[in-house]
């Protein structure tokens, strides 16, 4: 499945890394903040049902929300304390969208809940179930529920002898972010162990840990750990540092030379991909029986005096981490994620969620563009860098052209839905057009129009069905009447009919008399 020689994806960017500053020291614990705001909703918009109420005290690791939907995920209390609120708050996601959050006031004891005394899982199903119970979602950024990836694996996978490859994604291609690199340096043992469990869950033959070729020391450390644990089917592969090589589709192309068919999951190629931090979370869940309640977050940027990776509890407010890293007060943008795809947050009171890999605080000198956006000159720089091989400037023409050119359907024809929103086009645009914004708009607008169209089509179908039904009833009635009149036209049958009616009346009147 995986080629000896690496392939490459189209386009991409070579960016300045800015990673060194935050990655020099091992990650430090962020400690207990004054309060924790835990968003229940996952990135996929599915909200689990809270199992606690305001005023209740919770223990560390206690389930605070249970999913109803198969794609939902569990939430656990990151520390012991009292639930002080269960309400809507801005969350660490795109546009800081408001969602149901649990606010916990820590009591400082950090007391664990009684462990459920789970045995080490033996079967695939048990592993997947434990992953689900631990509330693990993809920690790389997209936040896809981890257990759901393994539901695709058929039970008779071994019988089918289908080759499956597990790719552990350690390619952090966005500048500034170093949490995965730090994790691989600090916890190689846990990552390799977690990978071993995932191998079992995926029924996979081998695992590849992909890392970027610019991070020193990581390959050595992981390889030594693999040797120590004697797991020959895990290998570490260095991939060229080209943004966005850490994107799922791009990494698969680099490692295998194959492309995931549009609209399908990597499993169609026999590939399951997980982030390194997810592998570590799986280790915690199975070996230590600890649910996912913390993660490594990079706190960095030109406004941060001491860039550092922190092991922070889920729900830790940004402000707590910024204070630890000695944030200056010249922050213009506070970004979760990296500078290419991250979301700028309106305030520092929001709590981190499971997918928050980086807090990037940038002063105005780093963010301000030197000129406002200009019209597209169709230079084609965006075409050159697009890792999905789209025509970004054509898309813009159809989305934000003039009245004659605007046509979202044309944008669909030009594959707007294959855009991965990596921001490479926006970054290279000499006219400084925020192209990705337009594609996001087009995607949501098209999705909305599709739903609307489906609805109206359904309504039209119902209306047509109703008309057909009425017509049918009418026709039936007419047919009945016609058969009656035709019967009366014939004299003998008319007589028989009349006598039958008379007999019926007579019978009825007799019955009445009897009463």
């Amino acid at each position: 499945m995986v080629n000896e020689t690496l392939s490459h994806f189209h386009g991409g960017l070579v960016l300045r890394h800015h990673k060194k500053a935050s990655c020099e020291q091992p990650s430090k614990p962020a400690g207990l903040p004054d309060y924790l705001v835990i968003a229940l909703k996952t990135n996929r918009g599915i909200c689990p049902v809270p199992t606690i109420s305001v005023g209740e005290s919770v223990l560390k690791g206690q389930v605070i929300a249970k999913p109803e939907h198969p794609m939902g995920c569990y939430s656990h209390a990151p520390t012991s304390g009292i639930v002080t609120a269960l309400d809507h708050n801005p969350t660490a996601s795109q546009d800081a969208i408001s969602a149901l959050c649990v606010t916990i006031q820590p009591d400082g004891k950090d007391q664990w809940v009684e462990p459920a005394d789970q045995k080490k899982p033996n079967t695939r199903e048990q592993i997947v179930e434990q992953i689900k119970q631990a509330g693990i979602i993809g920690l790389g950024g997209a936040g896809f529920p981890t257990h759901a990836k393994y539901l695709q694996v058929p039970d008779n996978n071994t019988a089918l002898s289908r080759e499956t490859t597990l790719i552990i994604n350690g390619a952090e291609c966005e500048p500034y972010i170093s949490c995965d690199e730090r994790l691989m340096l600090d916890h190689p043992h846990e990552i390799i162990k977690g990978t071993e469990w995932l191998l079992k869950a995926a029924d996979a033959n081998k695992a590849i840990i992909a890392i970027e070729d610019n991070i020193g020391g990581v390959k050595k450390r992981l390889s030594a750990e693999i040797k120590k644990q004697k797991i020959p089917n895990i290998s570490v592969v260095k991939v060229p540092t080209i943004y966005p090589t850490g994107g799922e589709k791009q990494l698969i192309k680099v490692l295998t030379g194959q492309e995931v068919t549009s609209g399908q999951t990597p499993y169609s190629l026999g590939i399951i991909m997980q982030n390194v931090a997810t592998a570590k979370a799986v280790y915690d869940a199975i070996e230590l029986q600890q649910p996912l309640i913390n993660r490594v977050v990079t706190v960095t940027g030109e406004s941060i005096a001491e860039p550092q990776n922190y092991l922070a509890l889920i729900g830790t407010p940004f402000s707590h981490l910024l204070k630890l890293a000695q944030c200056k007060d010249d922050v213009d943008k506070l970004i979760i994620g990296g500078p290419m795809m991250g979301y700028a947050m309106p305030s520092a009171d929001i709590g981190i969620d499971k997918t928050t890999n980086c807090l990037l605080a940038l002063p105005e000198v780093c963010t301000k563009p030197e000129i406002e956006s200009m019209p597209c000159i169709r230079c084609g720089d965006c075409v050159k860098v697009c890792p999905q091989e789209l025509l970004p400037q054509q898309l813009l023409w159809y989305i934000d052209g003039n009245e004659q050119t605007n046509d979202l359907e044309k944008a669909r024809e030009h594959h707007v839905f294959d855009c991965i929103e990596c921001g490479a086009c926006s970054w290279v645009c000499p006219s400084h057009i925020n192209l990705v914004d337009f594609y996001r708009f087009a995607k949501s607008e098209l999705t909305y129009l599709d739903i609307k169209k489906a609805k109206s089509e359904l309504a039209k179908q119902r209306h047509d069905d109703r008309l057909a039904r009425l017509d049918f009833i009418k026709a039936e009635r007419q047919a009945k009447r016609r058969s009656k009149t035709s019967k009366l036209a014939d004299k003998s049958s008319a007589k028989a009919e009349i006598s039958a009616v008379l007999a019926r009346i007579k019978k009825q009147s007799e019955e009445k008399a009897d009463e």
């Binding site: 994806f9 546009d95 500048p175 589709k249 192309k253 492309e259 995931v260 068919t261 549009s262 609209g263 007060d329 922050v331 213009d332 943008k333 500078p339 290419m340 795809m341 991250g342 979301y343 700028a344 947050m345 309106p346 305030s347 520092a348 940038l362 105005e364 780093c366 963010t367 301000k368 563009p369 030197e370 000129i371 406002e372 200009m374 019209p375 000159i377 169709r378 230079c379 084609g380 720089d381 050159k384 890792p387 999905q388 091989e389 025509l391 400037q393 054509q394 024809e413 030009h414 594959h415 294959d418 921001g423 926006s426 970054w427 290279v428 000499p430 006219s431 400084h432 925020n434 990705v436």
Partner: protein
């Protein structure tokens, strides 16, 4: 810390380049060829530059005001300078003053702003201007100066006697102290055409000393410098290799059969490549992004089309050079080519089984 943070969307770090820098690089890439022009054909180009640039900016400013567009970003984007510069490299250094003014009117007002301004032009503004001039003032386009190496051979009067003052008179007044015919010479392509019309064979025509080793004397060096400027643009990633390669290769490929068929009538491939506007078109005109194709396949088709049309017009048309018309015709076809060459994105490649 209390003021709300800036929440504009990603990317959060500034872009690597801007429109102004792109245009500036195009101008810089034109400098060597312009110097060569200056060396071979005298300071006339400087006067034309001044004329074209000032009228271009005047029209640009007027159009922006009239269209109620922000003046500063568009005036400083240098695109009008690029248009004027490309136009000047096409016209005769002794063309009368109104040539540059009329040309820039059509380039900036008609080709650019009537179509919606920067980035929205369907036709390359410099080529629109040049085509208009070719049709409206054919006379002025046929009057070129002989290259400086020929001062004694071609005209009885030394070309260098045409000093700046005389050039000014020639351009603004239409007259000079010396008779015009005495100081002018035809362009190589025009010489070939008139020569052929007078039933000379091509080999006889190119014995004329205005021809050099492989193109026109002087012209071939301007073409070389344009090539070098173009390579710089490719190195700076302002243009891709697709269009220049397609134009040059196709010019050679399309002219070779004609040449082999009858080299008395049809020019040799190197004559084609190093004469007239083909080198300028390959690197600076056909690569104009707004009026060209955007996909890589489309760019190659576009470049090839420009080359084929140019060769056909040169060989069979009534104009000595056909680059301007070829570019304009291909500009028209660009949207169609783009529609037919939408690349298959990642994950939508046709399966080869």
């Amino acid at each position: 810390m209390n003021k709300p943070y800036n929440t504009s969307s990603a990317p959060h770090i500034p872009a690597r380049i801007n429109v102004q820098a792109v245009m500036l690089w195009v101008c810089l890439a034109l400098v060597p060829a312009t110097c060569a022009h200056l060396y071979y054909f005298g300071p006339g180009i400087l006067i034309q530059m001044l004329l074209a640039t000032s009228s271009a900016y005047l029209f640009e400013w007027w159009c922006l005001t009239w269209r109620k567009q922000p003046i500063k970003p568009f005036i400083t984007d240098l695109s009008a300078l690029v248009t004027a510069w490309l136009f000047v490299l096409c016209i005769s250094p002794i063309a009368p003053w109104y040539v540059a003014v009329v040309g820039m009117f059509f380039a900036i007002v008609v080709a650019k702003h009537l179509y919606g301004g920067l980035g929205n032009n369907i036709f390359n503004p410099a080529m629109v201007a040049f085509a208009v001039i070719l049709i409206a003032f054919p006379q002025s386009m046929s009057l070129w100066l002989p290259p400086s190496g020929l001062m004694d051979a071609v005209s009885s009067i030394n070309q260098h006697s045409l000093n700046l003052t005389e050039l000014f008179f020639l351009i603004f007044n239409g007259s000079a102290s010396t008779p015009i015919d005495a100081v002018t010479a035809a362009t190589p392509l025009a010489a070939i055409q008139t020569g052929l019309q007078q039933n000379y064979s091509l080999s006889e025509v190119i014995e004329n000393p205005i021809f050099g080793n492989y193109g026109g004397l002087g012209w071939e060096w301007i073409a070389n410098w344009l090539f070098i400027g173009g390579v710089v643009l490719m190195y700076k990633k302002i243009i891709t290799w697709h269009i220049p390669a397609a134009v040059l290769m196709t010019t050679i490929a399309a002219s070779t059969p004609f040449y082999l068929f009858n080299n008395d009538v049809f020019m040799s491939p190197q004559q084609h490549v190093f004469s007239g506007g083909i080198m300028l078109a390959a690197f600076f005109i056909a690569t104009d992004p707004s009026s060209g194709c955007s996909s890589f396949k489309g760019k190659i088709i576009f470049g090839a089309g420009v080359a084929i049309l140019t060769v056909l017009i040169r060989n069979f048309g009534s104009f000595p050079d056909g680059v301007a018309f070829a570019v304009l015709l291909m500009n028209m076809s660009a949207p169609l080519i783009d529609r037919l060459t939408i690349p298959n994105p990642y994950g939508k490649k046709p399966k080869i089984d």
